[in-house]
Structure formats: C-alpha cells, structure tokens
Amino acid sequence: MQNTQAQKATANNMAMIKSGVNNQAIPCAGKTVAQVRRELGGAFGIDPEAKAYKGKAQLSDTYVIESSDNIEFVRKLGEKG
C-alpha cells in the first residue's frame, strides 16, 4: 500500500521538460522555472537565458511547475549555414 502511494506521489511529481531534441519526464513539480533551468541546464543544453513556455504562454522565472506540465525551454536557432 505504501509502495503504491509512493509510486503515485512520484508519478505526480513529474513534468515534461522539452528543449532542443530533448523531451523527457522529470520529477520537478514544485520547483520554479529558474531552478529547473539551472539544474537541467547542463544535461539538456539549456541556455541560462532561455525563455520558458507552457504551451503558448511564456512563463516567468518564479512560476512553480505543476505535475503533468509540459514546459519548453526555447533553444536558439542555428546561426551557421
């Protein structure tokens, strides 16, 4: 029973984080956009200045991510060609 609840809590803690080619469920609900940008920056290649969106809505750095959110950190378009 406890295990089931723990699993449910863990599952409820997940949000989808997308940046560049990365798109992954991450246990980050309850954290702010700024925290997630900082913590995932290296692994996901997120620019420290990257803007965050939930769907079409731009998020502030203080937005607290909710479980099941789909958050995009915008990656710059390629410069060279």
Partner: protein
C-alpha cells in the same frame, strides 16, 4: 497538391546549406512546377576554404556560379542569380552590391534564408511581415552536428505560424553582424567555423521536407520548428501555429 503552377523560390545564402538546397528546389520546380523561377541571392564568393563542405566549379560569386551550374540541368526553370548582400532598406540606397529584403521579395514568394548570421535572417523575416502571402523558411546549424529549421507563413495578411521573434530573442536583437553591412576587410576576416557537411545537408533536407509538406501538399505546418542532432540521432518538433494565449 498545391495547384499553383508557377512559383518563385528565393534562396538567400548560397553557401553551406543553400548550395545543397538550391539543387533540390531546382528539381522540385523543374518536374512539378515547370515555368517557375529559382532566384539565388548571395554577395559572397566561393573560395578554396569552402571546398570541404560545398561543391563548386570555380571561385567567384556564389550566386552567379551556382546558377551557372544548375541552369544547364533545368530546361523548364529560370535560375536567376542576384550577386548582392541583404541589408536594411536605409543602407541599400544608391548601392549596386546590396539589396533590401523589401526590394527583393514579392507576394507569394517562397523564401529560404540560409545565410550564416542572424542579423541578415532578421532582415528577411521582418520584411516578410509586409506581405499578405509569403512563406519564409530558415535553417542553420551549429559548429558540429546539430541544427534546426523554422517556417514562418503568412496568408491573407495574417501570421499562420509565429514570427520567430515571438520566441527567439536572436530575431529581436541578433548577437552577430550582417556581413552585408561590413567592410571588405571585415568580411575577409570572417571565419566559417568548423561546420560539417553532414549538418549542412541535414538542414537542406529538413527544409526540402517542410517544402514538400507545406507547399507542395499544402498542409498546415504543425511542426514549424524542428531541432535535430545527428550525433544523438534525434529530432524534435515544435508547434508554432499562431494561436497565442496570453497568460
């Protein structure tokens, strides 16, 4: 299938990406839209240092040489070189080696901004806003094996997909300079970096793919931004349809 039988496609930047892209677009126009025009725009020259990523028959202006190579293979397509740099409207007056995007482009154009800097890309996309019906694609890569493409589409005076400046700050305040607005000495000092032919060709392929889907098949572009990484073998797409919600 899009029934428009004569198109004008404009490739701005005939270097690492545009060189491959122009050949593919030429084939599409030749066999599916005979009588169409393929315009190639670039003020830069092919130089020996470009040979590791681009195939060209001689050194000289990229637009002129590429057009001279493609035209003999295309009997039903007009290949038009424009050996000019894209600059802001106020900087094009009285000069013969530059042109503004506003002067260059026309209604119903299908445009590919494959230059090597954001400053010139911004000029092209910003000019797109004055046209009622236009498609502007861009594609670029980094110094390795990653890159992306973007499609801005306007119909009947409305943005069907978002202008890239909606999300991309590099289209508001470009971090680089436009070679078209540099001196000859500054241009000659520019470094092409360590780009790969694989990334250049992948960008061209994705642009051709978006052209098939959204122009030839006239389908809504629900994947207007695509990011790829050839090293990881991954690609991801992003919905940029213009149904913005302000929260």
């Amino acid at each position: 299938m899009n029934e428009n039988k004569d198109m004008r496609m404009v490739v701005i930047g005939a270097g690492g990406v545009g060189n491959w892209l122009a050949k593919g677009l030429g084939m599409i126009l030749e066999y599916q839209y005979p009588g169409s025009a393929l315009m190639l725009v670039d003020g830069d020259n092919f130089e020996p240092k470009n040979a590791s990523r681009q195939i060209f028959s001689s050194v000289g202006n990229k637009a002129n040489i590429l057009a001279s190579e493609i035209q003999p293979m295309l009997r039903n397509t007009f290949v038009i070189p424009e050996a000019k740099w894209i600059v802001a409207p106020e900087k094009s007056k009285g000069k013969t080696d530059v042109i503004s995007a506003e002067e260059l482009l026309m209604e119903d154009d299908i445009v590919y901004a494959t230059v090597d800097n954001h400053a010139a890309r911004k000029l092209v996309f910003d000019a797109g806003r004055i046209f009622n019906n236009i498609d502007i694609f861009t594609g670029g890569n980094d110094e390795n094996l990653a890159g992306n493409v973007y499609h801005y589409q306007r119909r009947n005076g409305n943005d069907i997909t978002e202008h890239p400046a909606e999300r991309h700050d590099e289209f508001i305040d470009p971090p680089d300079r436009n070679p078209g607005e540099m001196s000859c000495q500054e241009r000659s000092a520019l470094d092409g970096g360590t780009q790969t032919i694989a990334a250049n060709m992948a960008v061209a392929s994705f642009l051709l793919g978006r052209t098939y889907k959204t122009i030839l098949q006239d389908e809504k572009d629900e994947q207007a931004e695509i990011q790829f990484d050839l090293a990881l073998g991954l690609a991801a797409n992003y919905d940029r349809l213009n149904d913005v919600v302000n929260v």
